[in-house]
Amino acid sequence: MLDKPASALRLRERLLDSERLMEETGCYDGITELTLRNQDPLKFETLHTKLRAYCVSAREMARRISASPGVREVGEMVVAIYTPEGDAIALSNGIMVHVHTMSRFIKWMIKNNYEENPKIREGDIFANNDAFIGTVQVPDVMDVVPIFHEGTLVGWAGAVCHELEAGGITPGGDVCLAQERFTEGLFVCAEKIGENDEIRRDYVIRCERNLRMPIYWVLDEKAKVASCIDMRESVQQLISEIGLDYWMKVSKEFIEEGRRAQLARTRQLTVPGIYRGHTFYGHVTAGKPGFQLLGDPDWLYNIPIEMEITTDGKITMDFEGTQPWGYHSMNCTPAGMDGGMFVTLTQHMNFEGLVNDGAWMATELKLPHGTWTNPDNEMVATATSWALLLPAYGVFQRLLSRGFVARGFVEEAFVGQVNSPMIEMGGESQYGTPFGMAHFECAAAGSGALAIADGLDTAYVGWNPESDMGNIEVWEQSMPMVYIGRSIVPNSGGAGKYRGGCSFVSTWLINKTSHLRLHTSEHSSRVFDNGGMCGGYPAPTCQKHRAVRNSNIHELAAKGEPLAHAPGIDPDVSDYEKNIGGDHVVVEGPYITAPHKSGDIFSHFYNGGGGYGDVLERDPIKTAWDVENGFLTRQAADQVFGIILKDDAEGYPVADIDATVKRRAEIRKQRLAKAIPVSDWIAGERGRVEKADFAPEVKKMYTSAIKLSSRFTKELSDFWNVDAKSIFMPGAKP
């Protein structure tokens, strides 16, 4: 047993030895030959498939134990099997981002001498949701159990569920108001929460007394433990069939094979070289209740990414030039950044089911210390890391896609995942009880376009490849609001030859409550954060919230008057304002305000994806279909795409091809007349840069990036032929 001091050192030493071997040989655990694979490839592949089946089956079983609609409906769960050192061998479908974050958690316990105290014994259950140990954000709670075979630790089984309520300063899981760690909610820091396969009662009591909706968290714990025990028993049975020696070797070979497969896949699908891109995030909180003035209330972050693919197939992503961490909830730890890389790779390069931690080992992230990607202060909040992670990894997808296009694999090119805001809520439920919840219909935003087709409408998010918005009826059981509308948002995909996938907007009537707190997170403002590619436009910026307090909707309904079920297509005056009486509210950025009550109306938009290719090449017939079905407005078809529509005998839009050809020729002519040489634009714009004639938030962004990065300073200076440091940091030493 590993609770004896003599053996306690062995696992830690084994982990360090494994890392040393990787360093020395370049191969995982020093495995330079895939001996078992070469001896019997069929047996090798069969075993890996079995392990994957164990994971998928355990997850499906566990989802039935959960009470959370996030896990049951939307599938916010993943499970995986690990080596004793904590490297993922096989994983289920689901929120795969956490396969590698759990790996970090296991390694953290090993490196912190958990074998000695609190000891690692058969039947133990360990949990964690501390992002600096290994997760993305507080609601991502992970459980791992050790797998023993005749007294020897032979692996780990692990499971993660995203909790809908984390007990933070605001209800829900993605606590947008958290500005430091201490307001994010209930932390479980690599803690032994159970023994002998049983969760400790005192741990459950802590959860029950510190969460607004403990039933979700506690039943998810049981679901996770059940899945871990299920995987453990399957692995133990497998070892009794194939022998311990074979298991210990084959599990490592799987990972080395995964590493080699990733390198080979990169060499097969891409082109070596340097790829660059950027995105931005705007945060607007000035004057909003609850935010402490710990930093600037409004700020702009730049997220530049340089990706290098070397001829050996290694991918390196470098975030140099980005912004410092801040007193907000959007910071990310290296574990979260790893997770973002892992979930992107699993979807875009390793979709054959052989993916494991080997894929991650074939990549490298350069995360500048002190930035939001790698804070030098462990007190920072990471409750809504996804706000910056998602647009960043959307850029990664575009960079990879540039390689796919260059290599000829156009069917793999994808404009990328999107950042999309989500809703958190709490207060008094429709049953008169306290409650708290994150609404996970956000797991079905629009995707970026492909290089050969439009993006997916209301069907994709990067963080959950099984994207699903869940059923309205199930959500209505869980919150004191009823849907009065859930509609496609026209033009919400970025325009292009292939448009981005459209998003949707939900409208609710607050119902049977006198106190409903509604908050939104991941709500970028004032910028485009979901870009386009190859001439496609970015998706629209996050839309403002439209709400009606003290509405007269019940009176209108009693009279049989028409209601508004969506905000409509006039950005200046919503359909609510046109059709419903009451106190109308339009809020930019995160929605943080006084509680709502029955009779109020609230609407929330999700985001669409960026477009691909020149708008003037979009298919007019497809566009007519889009207009007929509410994905595009007629105005956009004409004004943006240059497509002239007329009505058929039944009033449906049809493309007027001749008129379209003429209109597009005009637009092309207008473009050429309006465009100026880039060199002229640079010469004209240089004066503005020299004067730093920018909004305060833009100036601050440059100053912060210059402070952190000499490379960014040089690039900015070289591009404009100025001394950027003296412009943005007057008085600073050159």
């Binding site: 297509i569 020149d614 465009a675």
Partner: protein
């Protein structure tokens, strides 16, 4: 080994292949002869004779033009040495007012032009929009892609440039 005809790849690139067939290509093992076949598809599409060495965008190609390797638009316009940022030789339209942004986003909330502008990079000859950047005012133009052309041909394709 998986392989597709040039005609199938031409339809795939043009977005004309029926979805079930496209889906099968997505799900199948990748075809190792794809690169040169797809280059041949592009070569058939362009009116000029310079051999294409690498596609870099929807209508931009690095090609061998005499002794030089240049970035060329599908229409034939040259953006110069492929190692330099082609955008610097393009024409540009910048949308940095509410009115200009509203033209592209007629029915949505729009960003604050003080925080963000849209830069459209256009071929000065044919007017094709090759790339759109959404950036803060003052942000340097991005050099999207610097391929390691020599390494790619020598080490991955096993062919001389």
């Amino acid at each position: 080994m998986t392989s597709y005809s040039k005609e199938v790849l031409a339809d795939l690139a043009a977005g004309q292949l029926p979805w079930p067939q496209t889906k099968r290509i997505m799900s199948a093992y990748k075809d190792d002869d794809r690169f040169f076949k797809m280059v041949a598809v592009h070569q058939d599409r362009v009116a000029w004779k310079d051999p294409i060495l690498l596609p870099v965008s929807d209508h931009l190609f690095i090609c061998q033009s005499g002794d030089e390797r240049i970035t060329r638009c599908e229409c034939g316009h040259s953006f110069g040495d492929y190692r330099k940022n082609w955008k610097l030789k393009a024409a540009i339209i910048v949308r940095n007012t509410e009115e200009a942004l509203r033209e592209i986003y007629p029915n949505s909330d729009i960003p604050d032009p003080q925080w963000m502008e849209i830069r459209e990079f256009i071929c000065p000859q044919c007017g094709t929009m090759h790339e759109v950047e959404a950036a803060a005012p003052g942000y340097p133009i991005v050099h999207d892609f610097e391929p390691d052309l020599e390494g790619f041909y020598r080490e991955w394709l096993g062919k001389p440039l």
